[in-house]
């Protein structure tokens, strides 16, 4: 069983009734866990006061 540490933290936030009617649930959860772990690592960055950068370079 893959540990779902990061996923469990978010479980309470998930919309009730998300209907993922697929036999691949275990694979989806494992993939999600890896993605969330990488995203959670971003908390190590000094993000205070940093605004999003959507990379819109339309103005020279």
């Amino acid at each position: 069983m893959v540990p779902f540490e990061h996923l469990e933290r978010r479980a309470a936030d998930l919309l009730v009734g998300v209907a993922l009617t697929t036999p691949d649930m275990q694979a989806i959860l494992a993939q999600t866990e890896r993605v969330l772990a990488a995203i959670d690592q971003l908390d190590q960055l000094p993000l205070d006061g940093v605004e999003p950068d959507f990379l819109n370079r339309s103005q020279p």
Binding site: D13, T22, A38, I39, L42, L45, P46, V50, P52, F54
Partner: protein, 470 residues
Amino acid sequence: MSELPWMGVVELARAIAAKKVSPVEVMRAQLARIEKLDGRFKSYISVFGEQALETARHAEKAATAGQRLGALHGVPVAVKDLYDVQGTPTTAGSRFLKTPAQRDCTAVARLRAAGAIILGKLNMHEFAFGPEGINEHFGTPWNPWDTSTHRMPGGSSSGSGVAVAAGLIPMGMGSDTGGSIRIPSALCNTVGLKPTYGRVSRAGIWPLAWSLDHAGPLTRSVEDAAAVLGVLAGHDPADPSSSGHAVPDYLGQLAAPVRGLRVGLLTEYVAEADPVVQTTVRAAAQVLDGLGCTVEEVKLPLARHGAGASFSILISEAGAFHDPLMRKHGTEYSPDVFRRLLVARFLSAGDYLKGQRARRLIREDVDKVLGRVDCLLTPTLPIAAPPLTATEVDIGDRKESARFALTMFTRLFNVTGHPALAVPCGFTGEGLPLSLQLVGRAFEEATILRLGHAFQQATEWHRHRPTDMG
């Protein structure tokens, strides 16, 4: 077989302008080669044989009359099947998108305006969402560097990489959201250019993730990539991310000396690659040093956060775009793509914005290093082409997920938007190609193209041809 299909974009354009070869002769030779070999390679989704020949006849007539239609007069080109080409369906590698496009996308319109002839549309990972380049609907393209084992062609622009490497087209357009131009280039021994974000219009190209998507060419030489970028670059009001930066003469600047350019060898990425890749990229650094460049080792402290930022942005944007389609056509998606898109339902708006905020810091980190050196040098990939069925790969003495490994060194520069060029730089003992990546300052494609061209003038790696497979 004819040597014409092996001529490059610039070489063909010059030969046609000088009336040494005719566009019809070139097109017939290219179509004959596709007819003979692509049943095995599976690089095309559709080939516009008659239509392309008819356009070639017009190009020939104009050439005979001394008219020049543009920089790519009479040159056959192909596009990944997520570029809109008027009157043909843009399948995006899926089985359910069948409506013909009402108009050409901006990139195709610019290629046509320069005299290029659109020969067909190239295979790809479904919806451009996968670095392996597999496609269960149209068949997975065969990597031409191994005739016995089906190896990953690299994705998502798998058809573009295979067609260019196998002499089935001199230039194939690709798209790159986490490495999808550079990965097939590296695995198939072609040049792949991901320009700066905003440099080439995305209008009319099926999106994967709006703020990470880039359009660019796969070719057999850096010179050809420069010629194609010169045609494609420039502001397009139809694309809100398109830049108004002036477009330099990329081809004209190619031969400028590289002596004195400062190249930063990115040590974190080199150290994470397989030993054969490390040796090969260090040897390439020696070649650049021999050309008079100053090569120094550099570090990017925030590079390790590229994965988190890339995942949060890519999956959130792709999930948002596909949500309505998934509700209607869910069972028609490939399971691997559908599964990855479902991950988006577990991400919050805060996760997405965390990625976009991290992006600012990571971009500034790259900009800071690029303030000291003119470009970065990294391996394009940590490995050579794995077998198609591999889910894990060995990198030195450690194991890594194949999918994760393929984007390890490419996805960072989709997050930051810097231009990146994949260039062939060697082969493994098994004869599989290896590739280096040059990364430049924003809108300074001319510098990395100049360096890549100088490297190709000093080496022969890009001239190797795979064995034909009938």
